[in-house]
């Protein structure tokens, strides 16, 4: 049974991705990430001395500031900041620079669905641009469940509003390594099979959730390849 999407995509097809690095000259690292019409700009200011009062001074601290496109920052922005902070904390190597704060500032330029995954991808690219040491990259995707039980990936805003439930999933990116295979497995499974973050909204049965996970994971392999290609260092032409 095929489901018709408004823009003619297949259920597993992602919108066109675009990533630009080093867009801001003042920030230590910056990136802009577009998924179709959703565009997010991320800026990173590298380790500053000192941590905030409630943070652990024995580790580096990540501070996230989310700026919405219009309106004051409200509760929804605080929630996004918290999710982003937890996700980025799990990919950064926090023990390298203890008692420092790295600020990540997210500016929403346009919201056309899948905003949080777009922001996570942009933040990850900006962290790489700033040279912050990371364990691995994070690739985020949004999967939703239609009324008919069909799973579609990367919805636009109109599609998101019509869905029964959706889930934002963040996976570690695929690993290219010189080390022998056995070393990179965690408890017998390759690292790409892990999940960093999962945020669900709406009610969905467990089987459908696992189905979303599978589809999401397959799609992030393509996004990983795209991310890796766009983060290649640009060498000057001789």
């Amino acid at each position: 049974m095929e489901i018709d999407r408004l823009d003619g995509r297949t259920p597993n097809q992602l919108r066109p991705l675009a990533c630009t690095r080093n867009v801001l000259n003042r920030a230590h690292g910056s990136a802009s990430w577009c998924q179709g019409d959703t565009k997010v700009l991320a800026a990173v200011y590298g380790p500053k001395a000192g941590t905030k009062r409630n943070e652990n001074p024995e580790k580096a601290c990540i501070e996230v500031i989310w700026k919405p496109k219009t309106g004051q920052s409200g509760k929804a922005e605080r929630e996004y900041e918290m999710i982003l902070k937890r996700t980025l904390q799990s990919i950064c190597i926090l023990t390298l620079n203890p008692n420092t704060t790295t600020s990540v500032i997210i500016q929403v330029v346009n919201d056309d669905g899948a905003l949080l995954p777009c922001a996570i991808n942009a933040a990850c690219a900006a962290l790489v641009d700033a040279g912050i040491p990371l364990k691995h990259l994070a690739v985020a995707i949004c999967c939703c469940l239609a009324e008919s039980g069909y799973v579609i990936l990367d919805p636009s805003k109109l599609e998101e509003q019509k869905m029964k439930a959706f889930v934002y999933l963040v996976f570690p990116n695929s690993v290219l390594s010189n080390l022998p295979e056995g070393q990179l497995k965690v408890q017998g499974e390759p690292m790409e099979h892990g999940i960093i973050t999962s945020v669900t909204q709406g009610a969905m049965p467990v089987d459908d959730y696992l189905h979303c996970l599978e589809r999401g994971r397959a799609a992030t392999a393509k996004m990983s390849a795209f991310l890796r290609k766009s983060l290649q260092p640009r060498l000057p032409i001789d």
Binding site: L24, N25, R26, A27, S30, D37, L41, A43, Y45, K48, I65, K67, K69, T70, G71, Q72, S73, S103, I105, Q107, V109, N110
Partner: protein
């Protein structure tokens, strides 16, 4: 601000100006290149003046008016000094520079009657448009108040 100008830098700028040259090679009355881009949706624009980048979004909402001016809508300007522009900007309460900037733009648009607030009224005393302009400063390299109009 952590960065302070040294005496040498001060003297250099002054001597250069005396011979009619500015530090980026421009003459005293030369302008930096202006680049204006309009976004996909209605009511968004991005302006680049040299290295300074600013984004503006305009939204409108229907509100009820009880005030002593039932025939006019309202125009409000919100200037956001994002920490993206400079790490010394703290999120939260705007610094006095930000507030001053907001006021200058507000007075400029209001007093020059660039937006006719009476035309924003739909039903007198009941429903009017409240137009809201959000300005996000992405990179700051000087000359902010000029931009916004």
């Amino acid at each position: 601000m952590a960065w302070r100008m040294t005496v040498n830098e001060n003297k250099f700028i002054e001597t250069a100006l005396e011979s009619g040259l500015r530090i980026d090679g421009r003459r005293p009355f030369d302008y930096r290149t202006v680049d204006i881009k309009f976004g996909k949706d209605d009511g968004s624009a991005e302006v680049h003046l040299g290295q300074t980048h600013v984004m503006a979004f305009v939204t409108a909402q229907l509100v009820q008016r009880y005030r002593d001016r039932p025939n006019e809508g309202s125009l409000s300007i919100f200037t956001e000094f994002s920490p993206m522009a400079d790490p010394s900007f703290e999120p939260g309460r705007p610094a006095e520079y930000a507030v001053e900037l907001g006021r200058v733009i507000d007075r400029g648009l209001r007093e020059s009657r660039a937006v006719d607030t009476e035309s924003l009224c739909i039903l007198s005393g009941k429903f009017v448009w409240a137009v809201r302009v959000d300005l996000h400063i992405l990179i700051m390299e000087g000359k902010l108040p000029l931009f916004f109009c």
